[in-house]
Amino acid sequence: MNLTSSLIASGQESEAVEASVNYAMQASGAFTWMWLLIAFPLFGAAFLLLAGRRTDKWGHWLGVAMSLASFATAVVMFFAMIASPDADRSQTLHLWDWIAVGRFEVPIALHLDQLSMTFVLLITGVGSLIHIYAVGYMAEDPARRRFFAYLNLFVAAMLLLVLADSYLVLYFGWEGVGLASYLLISFFQYKPSAAVAGKKAFVVNRVGDIGMSIAIMLMFVTFGSVTFEGVLGNVGMASETANTWIGLMLLLAACGKSAQFPLQSWLLDAMEGPTPVSALIHAATMVTAGVYLIVRSGPIFEAAPTAATAVIVIGAITLMFGAIIGCAKDDIKKVLAGSTMSQIGYMMLAAGLGPIGYVFAIFHLVAHGCFKANMFLGAGSIMHGMNDQVDMRRFGALRFVMVGTFITFSAGWLAIMGIPPFAGFFSKDKIIEAAFMHGWIPGLVAAIGAGITAFYMTRLWTMTFTGKARWTEDNQHPHESPKIMLIPIAILAFLSVSIGFILAYGDAIINWLTPVTGYAEQETVLNHYIIEYGTLAMVIAGAVIAYLQYRRDVPITPPQHVSALTTAARRDLYGDAFNEAVFMRPGQWLTRSLVFLDSRVVDGAVNGVAALAGGLSGRLRRLQTGYVRSYGLWMLIGAVVLLGFLILVRV
C-alpha cells in the first residue's frame, strides 16, 4: 500500500509533479484586498443580526448583495490570478500577529492560491445563486432576515476556512461553518425533528472537531507551528508515526464535517433544514470541507501511507454506503443526501490516492457542487409547488406541470450519472481511472458505485417526473416556481452541463491545480478504455433497470415485504443504530450530565451527578460545611502544612 509514497520518492512513471507552494509570498496588488471576501458576508451577518426587525423588509436583499459583492471580489481575484505567472499565484495576506510570545508566533493570515481560489469561486458563486433562490423560497417565512443573516455567516466562515493560512485559522472557520450549519438545520425550530436534527449534527460534529483539535495540538508539538508553511513544509522532519497520527486525526475531522463513515448519520437528518441550506451547506460547500482538508494536507498523507490508506478505505465504504441508502429512500431530499454522501466518498477516495487523485477530487467537488446544488434547488422547487411534500411516492408526472424544473433537474441527473458530455462524466471517470491506478479494489468499488448511482438517480427521476400522477388530495395543483427561483436553477443547470467540459478542456483544471497539489499519472491495472466503457455500460444498465422498474405504478405506501438489504438501507444501513451505540449514548449521557437534568439536582438537592467525577466532587463538597469554624480549621491546617512543608524542604 505504499504505492503513493514510493511514487513520490522515485518519481517513476514520468510525470510526477510535486507541489511547490511558496507560502511566504506576501500578497500584492489586487490580492491585498482578499480580506474583503470575508468582510462582506461577515458584515452582512452582523448587521442583519444586530439591526433586528427594522430590516425585515429589505434585509434579505442586503444578504444577497453581500454575497454577490463577495463573488465579484472573487472574480476580480480570479482574473488577477490568471494574469499573474504561476509562481505568483500563491499569495499570503498577513493580517496581524495573533500571539507573538517569545519564539512562538501565530500570525493571522489569509492564503489564496489556486486551490483556495477554486473553492472561493464555488462558495461565492453557488452561494450567491442560492441566496437569490432563497429570496423566493423563504418569501413566506417571517424569519427570513435571520435566515439570510445565518447564510451570510456561513459564507463568511466557509471562506475563512478555505482562505486560512494556518490550521488554527482553518479551525476557526471550521467551527464557524459548524455553528452556521447547526443554526440553519434547526432553523424551523417549531419542528421538533428539526431541533433534534440540529442537535445531532452538533454532537456528531463535535466528535470530528475533537480530531481536529488533537491534530492541531499534535502539529504544535511535532512541528512547533500550525501554519501550512510550517507544517507541510517540514513534514519530512517528523517521524512517520507522528504523521500517521496527525493524518488519522485530520481524517476523523474530515469524517465529521463531510459525513463520512462512521460519522455520516447526521447528514440525512440535516435535510430538516430549509432546502436552500441543504443545497448550499449540505451538498455544495460545507460538507466538502473535509475533502479540502485532506487535499490541503496532502504532504502529511503522502508521508503517512497508513493514514492515506485509511482515507481510501473510508471513502470507498462511504461511497457504497451512501449509494445503497439512496436506493431505498422515498424522501427526495434524503435520496439526494445519500447521494451527496456517496459522491463525497468518491472525492475522499480520490484525495486518499495522493497526487494521482487530488486534482480529480477537487474537479469532482466543483462539478458536484454545481449539479447537486442544481438538483437540490430543483427538489426545493418541487416541494414549493407540492405543498412541502417530500415523498416521491406521491409525486409522478411532474414533467408536465413543472417544465422548467424538469428540464434543469434532468441536466443534473445526467451530470451525476456521468453521461458524456455532462459534468460528471469528466470528473467521475477520472476518479475511477485513478482508483484503478491504485489497485483493483478501489477501482471496482468506484465503478460499481457509478452503476448504483445511475440506478438511484434514475429511480428518483422516474418516480418524480414520469409515470402517473400520485398526488394526494391536498396537492392537486402543483405549480411551477417563480422566476427568482428558476433562474438560479437554470444557471446551475447550465453549469451542470458545461462545467466538466470547460474544466477538462486542455487539462485546464490539472494545469491550474498542479502547482498547489502536485500531480502524477500511473498505469492503471486495467486498460483505461475498458474502464471507461465498462463504467458507462454499468451506468446505462443501472439507469435502464431503474427506469423499467419505476416507470410503472409505484404504490403510495412503501411495500413492507422487501429484502433485508432494502430494509437495512431504509434504516440508513443502521448508521443510526451504530452511531447511537458508539456516539449518541455516551453523547446523551454526556449531554444529560451537562444539562444537569439529573432529577436530584433539579430538585435542588446537593448530591449532584455523583457519578460524574466518581463522586469525588460530591464528597469534596461535604467539606464545605458552612461553619466558619470549620473553614478556620482548614485554614489553620493549611498554615500548619505550609509551615511543616517548608521546614521539611529545608531539612
Binding site: V606, R622, R629, L636
Partner: protein
C-alpha cells in the same frame, strides 16, 4: 536581653488565639481571639524592635492597634446586625450558605 521569651510568649498567644477561633462559638469571642492574634503579633514586633534596636517594630505596633480598632468597629457592626436579625451571636447559627 534576648527577645526569645517575648517571641515564645507571642507565639503562645497567637496559637491560643487561633485555637480560640476554632473552639468558641460566640462571634464576639471568636473575634476577640483574632484580636488576641493581632496583639500577639504586636508583642513580637515590639520584641524584635528591641532586639534590632530600631523603632520600626514599635511604630508598627501603633499602626496595628489602629487597624485592629477599625476592625473591631466593622466586626461589631456586622456581628450586631446578625444578632439583631437572628437573636443569636453564635457563629454556627447562620448556616444557610454551604456546599
Amino acid at each position: 536581653m534576648t527577645p526569645e521569651y517575648y517571641i515564645i510568649l507571642s507565639a503562645i498567644l497567637f496559637t491560643l488565639g487561633a485555637l480560640g477561633f476554632l473552639v468558641r462559638r460566640n462571634a464576639i469571642i471568636v473575634f476577640m481571639c483574632v484580636e488576641l492574634m493581632l496583639n500577639a503579633s504586636n508583642l513580637a514586633f515590639v520584641g524584635f524592635a528591641n532586639q534590632w534596636g530600631n523603632l520600626d517594630g514599635q511604630t508598627i505596633a501603633f499602626y496595628v492597634m489602629v487597624v485592629a480598632a477599625a476592625e473591631v468597629v466593622v466586626g461589631l457592626a456586622i456581628i450586631l446586625m446578625i444578632y439583631r436579625t437572628r437573636r443569636s451571636a453564635s457563629v454556627d447559627e447562620p448556616n444557610l450558605l454551604k456546599f
